[in-house]
């Protein structure tokens, strides 16, 4: 087949003869007609995605006040925007929480309210200089009153996302939504076969300068997104578009409980079917797209991978994890993603949306590096007490009381015959036991014990101690044998020697 050019396709868009299909239909066409026929038949494939995209925000220019002000800090409906640029320029980020309402309201909501035409309360404080003498201002503005409101999102339209689940016995509230205990649910994100970057995985047509649909307006890809990692199918895009032309239907402020504020953004990218290779790639279906299920119960950067899974399996509503049937939920909207792909299709068919050739290709060989950490991070094993007094579960309360008195240790791990941790007993438990006339230790010990791992960073243990309001944790090995204790007293001592760790604890 002869390859098509973008100019030829644009001519067809102008004269109304262009053949456009949405990406989900393209997989059917390719499997029915084959790649060669599909490439001849179809000129453009439209993709779409609509999901929470935290790395989003808007550059705003307010115009000058009289007398003029150089803003030191500025708030829109009590949400702070970044002013470390020129006098009345600011960047309002999607995840910035409101000063008075916390995560119930924030940057994402202000952006939605601006687009919906709602009045926004603005207040700012200034430096007070010879050229910008004013030190304070308060006013009410709408989107119309702003000189520019340019949406510029450093990372949008991620190629894929991981699937999140939770092995622990506590509910976790994460940026991947509510994760119920013991693998009770699994949440995923992304538009599957409709996803823009999965339809052009080698960045042949999506590059710098590609015209896109951005939340109801025409926008552009302006470069690789932050954390762009095409080598591992985690490509991302940096995009820009005029907020004044956008629609509130495709921009929604949102809150992930316990995590914070974000913004749902809608992106649609047309992919010109220039050759058979592109036809084949746009023929991708949900069953071809594989991602990983990770255990968010592990609070580390590298979370354990529990299994690999396709979007087809995820979209069925149930997947198997560790032998359990687990219900799945998407966090992005397939309904809205299809709507965007369809709207872009209509725009192309009506001659309102022309394709652009990228002026530069995006890198296809970059990877996402972890943060370089130069300060040493203390681990549990560095600070735990290794001499631990334990007590048998068959001991009496009197034995426990004696041990506590002799050792002055207030938390005693209780162990089984096989020396495995089965509970913990505290001085408080003993007093209660005496008052209530209990005799056996097994009756009064706490069986659900929070524990620490020797290789765990101390920072995570401090979070556990604070969150559950406890003052000591047994440190156990893989066989549940107690190998140490970590207490808030030791952590306090460590803070005293801050210089040694060059590290600040927030207690």
């Amino acid at each position: 087949m002869r390859n098509k050019s973008i100019e030829e396709i644009n001519e067809k868009i102008v004269d109304g003869s262009v053949h456009v299909v949405t990406a989900d239909k393209m997989s059917e066409i390719v499997s029915e007609l084959g790649v060669e026929e599909a490439a001849k038949e179809v000129d453009v494939v439209t993709t779409g995605t609509f999901g929470p995209m935290c790395s989003s925000g808007v550059f705003i220019n307010f115009g000058h006040a009289d007398p003029p002000i150089k803003m030191k800090r500025v708030w829109l409906n009590d949400v702070e925007a970044y002013t470390g640029i020129a006098a009345v320029d600011a960047y309002l980020g999607a995840t910035q929480p409101s000063e008075d309402k916390g995560a119930e309201y924030g940057g994402g909501y202000v952006i939605e309210d601006l687009v919906a035409g709602k009045p926004i309360e603005m207040k700012a404080i200034g430096y007070g200089t010879d050229c910008y003498p004013r030190k304070e201002i308060g006013t009410t503005i709408t989107l119309e009153d702003l000189n520019q409101a340019m949406m510029l999102n450093p990372r949008n339209s991620s190629q894929r996302y991981v699937v999140a689940t939770n092995s622990t016995d506590r509910t976790l509230y994460t940026y991947m939504g509510t994760l119920l205990p013991n693998y009770r649910n699994a949440n995923y994100c992304g538009a599957g076969a409709l996803s823009p970057l999965f339809n052009d995985p080698d960045f042949e047509t999506i590059g710098v300068g590609t015209r896109i649909f951005l939340s109801g307006a025409g926008g552009y890809v302006i470069g690789e997104g932050t954390q762009h990692n095409p080598v591992n199918s985690f490509g991302t895009l940096m995009v820009a578009g005029n907020l004044k032309e956008m629609s509130a239907e495709f921009l929604k402020g949102a809150t992930f409980y316990g995590y914070g504020v974000t913004l749902y953004v809608g992106i649609g990218i047309p992919i010109p079917v220039l050759n058979e290779g592109i036809a084949r790639k746009t023929g991708i279906s949900d069953g071809d797209i594989v991602t990983e299920v990770l255990d968010y119960g592990v609070s580390r950067r590298d979370r354990p991978v529990l299994r690999r899974v396709t979007y087809e399996e995820l979209k069925s509503g149930l997947i198997e994890i560790e032998g359990k049937e687990v219900p799945t939920s998407p966090l992005s909207s397939f309904y809205m993603a299809s709507k965007i792909a369809a709207e872009l299709k209509r725009g192309l068919e009506a001659g309102k949306f022309l394709l652009s050739l990228p002026v530069e290709r995006l890198p296809t060989d970059t990877v996402f590096k972890p943060m370089k950490q130069t300060k040493e991070l203390p681990l549990v094993k560095d600070v735990m007490t290794r001499e631990v007094k334990t007590i048998s579960e068959r001991a009496s309360i009197g034995d426990a009381a004696k041990l506590i008195m002799e050792t002055q240790i207030t938390h005693i791990p209780v162990i089984s015959k096989e020396s495995k941790l089965v509970g913990i007993v505290t001085a408080w438990d003993i007093s209660t036991a005496v008052a209530k006339r209990h005799e056996d230790l097994a009756e009064i010990m706490t069986r659900k014990v929070m524990t620490a791992d020797p290789e765990e960073p101390l920072e995570l243990v401090i979070r556990k101690l604070e969150k559950y309001n406890i003052s000591a944790l047994p440190v156990i090995d893989k066989d549940r044998k107690v190998i140490g204790m970590i207490t808030s007293d030791e952590i306090s001592k460590l803070i005293g020697k801050r210089g040694k760790w060059q590290w600040r604890l927030r207690i």
Binding site: F50, G51, P52, Y173, G177, T178, L180, N185, A186, N187, K252, A254, T255, F256, Y257, T262, Y264, G317, V326, P327, T328, S329, P330, L331, S332, S333, F334, Y335, M336, S338
Partner: protein
């Protein structure tokens, strides 16, 4: 029909009032949810339609406040973007996707555990009394 039962009198908890109502009416009552604290006890029960009036009257006689729950979960369709975050957290399967990936809500299955209220990123779900 779901009923919200609320009792304040701590003396009442010494009498098996729920059992008494069941025995007296023969109604097959399902207890969806129970919250008991120092001040009050809230129960949500599911009662067969034909016995609702009789069951409600008997509970009232025994000193329990009874309210019919007409709205179990309020879903703001204009705010909803049909993402589906509510689906996997719901213990009783109230939320489902229809074939075009729109959310459909089977309200009568709701037990008002309110997990979905926190899980909805758009704030489109609420438990109202």
């Amino acid at each position: 029909m779901k009923l919200l039962l609320r009792r304040f009198s701590s003396r009442l908890h010494e009498t098996p009032y729920t059992a008494e109502v069941i025995l007296e009416t023969g109604a097959k009552i399902n207890i969806d949810r129970a919250n008991v604290d120092a001040v009050r006890a809230d129960l949500i029960i599911d009662v067969p339609e034909d016995k609702v009036e009789r069951v409600a009257a008997l509970f009232r006689e025994k000193g329990v406040e009874v309210r019919k729950l007409v709205k179990l979960i309020a879903w703001d369709e204009t705010r909803c973007v049909h993402c589906g975050a509510c689906i996997s957290v719901c213990p009783t399967g109230v939320f489902k996707f229809d074939p075009s990936w729109n959310i459909s809500v089977e309200e009568e299955k709701c037990v008002r555990c309110e997990v979905c209220v926190k899980a909805c990123p758009l704030g489109a779900l609420a438990c109202v009394e």
